[in-house]
Amino acid sequence: MRSDRLALAALAGLAVLLVVAGLVTVGGPEEARRQRRDEARVAALSDLARCMAQLPVAEFDALPPEMAADNPCVDRDNWRDAGTGAPFRLVRGEGGAFSLCAAFENPASVRRNFYGQSFDPATGCVTARRDE
């Protein structure tokens, strides 16, 4: 085979190999939709957590373990999972720490650290801290 034909075949082969590897890595359309839903969940948890970290102590202490529409930090419908409708859960920790949790479809693919908070894929919770 001429060198130019060989080079062209190698280039095309490399492209095919990388496309296959890419599809194996990121999955197909359904995986992309799952990822988008999880990103929306973590964004909602993060927004809520950022607001709740600034709430006055009395308002924060009065919050129930499950988010509701009357939560002072709620904006539109961000107190519950857009896909399942299940309310996000509040878990209080020690020393001002608290977590907001949801059920994720693929928690391993969600980013871990952002906006000064952290996401734990094992629990599906975004953890933040109040300034007390």
């Binding site: 034909r5 990388l18 599809l23 990121v26 990103e39």
Partner: protein, 210 residues
């Protein structure tokens, strides 16, 4: 009239007058013409037939060639860019390089490169096949000036890519940044630039053989 047109005209008249090529070349050298100019001028004309020097085929330019080879060049550049982009993303993923963004932008980048390659690779291969068929049917097409220009520009960019890649690698070594991840990326760039160089070098040689 441009000097080289005058030169070509002189060579034609000298050949028509029955002068030999060596005699014509010597006269031109004495007049101060460079060897490469003399060679090109003599190559424009075949030996006299019908009592006249016969013009040899020359390079030509056409809008169709500009479209066709321009499209091939663009497709190849896109193909190579996204092979490297996709490769870089997969290498970063394999080495666990993550960013502190709220969303997985790398997954989107990978999907975009996949989409581009799925379209561009078959299109480029089809264009290449169409070009090969065209050249088989009409070997005069190898004289297309646009074809040669695009090929040499591609060779130039591929050569720059390889040189730049080697420089970056040595710099990373000296800077203490030569990680396995870097080597993998540099190897990918060298491979794609090298394959493009080999491909076009072979293409141009094919044109010279026809």
């Amino acid at each position: 009239m441009k000097p080289n047109e005058t030169l070509g005209d002189f060579v034609a008249r000298a050949l028509a007058a029955g002068r030999g090529r060596d005699e014509i070349a010597a006269a031109l050298r004495e007049a101060g013409w460079q060897a490469s100019d003399i060679r090109r001028a003599l190559a424009q004309w075949g030996d006299p037939a019908l009592g006249l020097p016969v013009p040899r085929p020359a390079a030509h330019v056409s809008a169709r060639d500009a479209f066709f080879y321009g499209l091939m060049f663009t497709m190849l550049a896109t193909l190579v860019w996204h092979i490297d982009a996709l490769g870089f993303d997969l290498i970063d993923r394999a080495f666990g390089i993550e960013d502190d963004y709220g969303y997985d932008w790398r997954a989107q980048s990978i999907r975009w490169s996949i989409a581009v390659l799925v379209v561009v690779v078959p299109l480029f291969l089809w264009l290449n096949r169409a070009e090969a068929a065209r050249l088989r049917d009409d070997p005069a097409q190898t004289r297309s000036a646009i074809r040669k220009w695009f090929a040499f520009v591609t060779l130039y960019l591929a050569a720059l890519g390889m040189v730049g890649d080697l420089i970056a690698t040595i710099y990373a070594l000296l800077n203490g940044d030569l990680t396995v991840q870097f080597i993998a990326k540099a190897a990918l760039v060298l491979l794609t630039a090298g394959l493009v160089f080999l491909y076009y070098r072979g293409e141009l040689r094919q044109g010279d053989e026809v």
